[in-house]
């Protein structure tokens, strides 16, 4: 047990976790997930929002087992290693709104940081603009952190509270398996488009569970990787990000999934300004909330109710982004995408300035 803890706490450990995620993301694509979207936390939560009927974009609706696996895998790991600590109460409404706008930004770019890396590893040059935006957003977040920004302390809470998010995931799994045919049309699954493309349920679920366990142990976080390099010149988490990129790149080459270029890339657009702008907003929101979308899922599995609220904020943001034509599509940026990004940036900057302790 002790040696497992030490291994995943090491650079070698987090590198292996990154490699695992990269390799299996590319394989998930091979086994049926959408192109350059073996795993995308933002896109997959958006698909879940659609499956529940919260938005009606009929090409992006599916209950993604990977997301369920991430939370339940993290829960299993946290229980085994005695790290399940139910906690709540650190600026909940702020975290919800940060999740909301993080999703808006991610859907203008068309991907979370994981997918930005996967898009790059598949040859999509537009991902570079997104990644530059992400770094700029995190750097802005670091500026606020250095000037005393702080969401405040959480509090220990009742054990059951920590189980709420895992139970929601079990509920989603039941809906996915049972696919209830209700007269109100409760569950929507895409018949065409990215939402209709998915690897077999059991494979996606198992890979999600394993990633949940590995990421809980290693604290894998893409936003944290960038933040730690800028804030304290610590490359520990960045080692994992390199692992993801290299693992996916090598696997994409092997599987013939690498196609370099800017035009005609799958589930992507080439509006450089808003690829940058979308991820600028997402990066800032992740930095202010203390974790990338994947990390927020893993924390919610450990019993962190504030991270769970960030996730629910993301799902609400996805519904809003599609219902209000703010989400992009391969045809380009949505009509209200730029406006929504600007509103989100203003919100995040106001939060950054107003939630500061004097230092």
């Amino acid at each position: 047990m002790e040696s497992i803890v030490r291994f995943f706490g090491s650079k070698k450990g987090i590198l292996c976790v990154g490699l695992f995620i990269g390799v299996f993301a590319a394989l998930l694509q091979k086994w049926g997930n959408p192109p350059n979207m073996g795993i995308c936390v933002a896109c997959f939560e958006r698909d879940i929002a659609g499956a529940l009927g919260l938005h009606r974009a009929d090409v992006v609706q599916y209950i993604r087992p990977e997301i369920i696996g991430f939370v339940l895998g993290s829960l299993i790991s946290a229980l085994i290693f005695r790290e399940f600590k139910p906690r709540v109460g650190s600026a909940p409404i702020v975290r919800f709104m940060l999740g909301f706008f993080a999703m808006v930004g991610a859907l203008v770019f068309l991907g979370c940081p994981w997918r930005a890396l996967l898009r790059l590893s598949g040859g999509d040059g537009n991902a570079i603009l997104g990644l530059v935006g992400l770094v700029a957003g995190v750097a802005l977040g670091v500026y606020f952190l250095k000037s005393g920004y702080n969401l405040g302390r959480n509090q220990k809470t009742y054990r059951f509270v920590g189980w709420i998010m895992p139970l929601i995931m079990i509920g989603l799994l039941i809906l996915l398996v049972a696919e209830p045919k209700l007269s109100s049309g409760a569950i929507f699954f895409s018949e065409k488009g990215p939402g209709a493309m998915h690897a077999p349920l059991i494979i996606s679920l198992i890979i999600g569970l394993v990633i949940g366990i590995l990421a809980q142990r290693s604290r894998f976080c893409t936003m944290g990787a960038i933040r730690d390099v800028i804030l304290i010149k610590d490359f520990h988490l960045m080692t994992g990000v390199f692992g993801l990129l290299i693992g996916a790149f090598v696997m994409n080459i092997i599987l013939g999934q690498f196609h370099a270029g800017f035009v005609g890339q799958p589930v992507a657009h080439n509006n450089h300004i808003w690829n940058f702008g979308g991820m600028l907003l997402a990066g800032l929101a992740f930095a202010l909330a203390g974790g990338c979308p994947g990390r927020q899922l893993f924390l919610s599995g450990e019993g962190d109710g504030d991270s769970a609220l960030f996730v629910i904020g993301m799902i609400a943001g996805a519904a809003f982004a599609h219902n209000f034509v703010a989400a992009s599509s391969p045809k380009g940026v949505g009509l209200w995408g730029p406006g929504a990004v600007i509103v989100g940036l203003i919100f995040c900057i106001v939060i950054g300035f107003s939630m500061r302790e004097k230092i």
Partner: protein, 76 residues
């Protein structure tokens, strides 16, 4: 007063989420430059992050379990 034995200064980072414990501990290190101080955390993630940063900055870290919390004693 000079010469008086003082209690080690303590940074209470319980309930703070990542990266706040690291920032608070780092700030204390800059203020003190050397000596002994304690950081109280309540998650293993905070324990690991503070320990990694402090070790890199040349501080010695002793970890003590204090019930549900973890006390880190930093010395340089």
């Amino acid at each position: 007063m000079k010469g008086e034995i003082k209690m080690a200064e303590k940074v209470d980072a319980r309930g703070l989420s990542c990266p706040q414990p690291v920032i608070n501990a780092h700030k204390k290190m800059r203020e003190m430059e050397s000596g002994t101080f304690e950081v109280l955390v309540d998650t293993t993630t905070s324990r690991d992050n503070v320990t990694r940063m402090a070790t890199r900055e040349g501080w010695n870290v002793e970890v003590r379990d204090e019930g549900e919390d973890i006390l880190l004693v930093l010395r340089k």
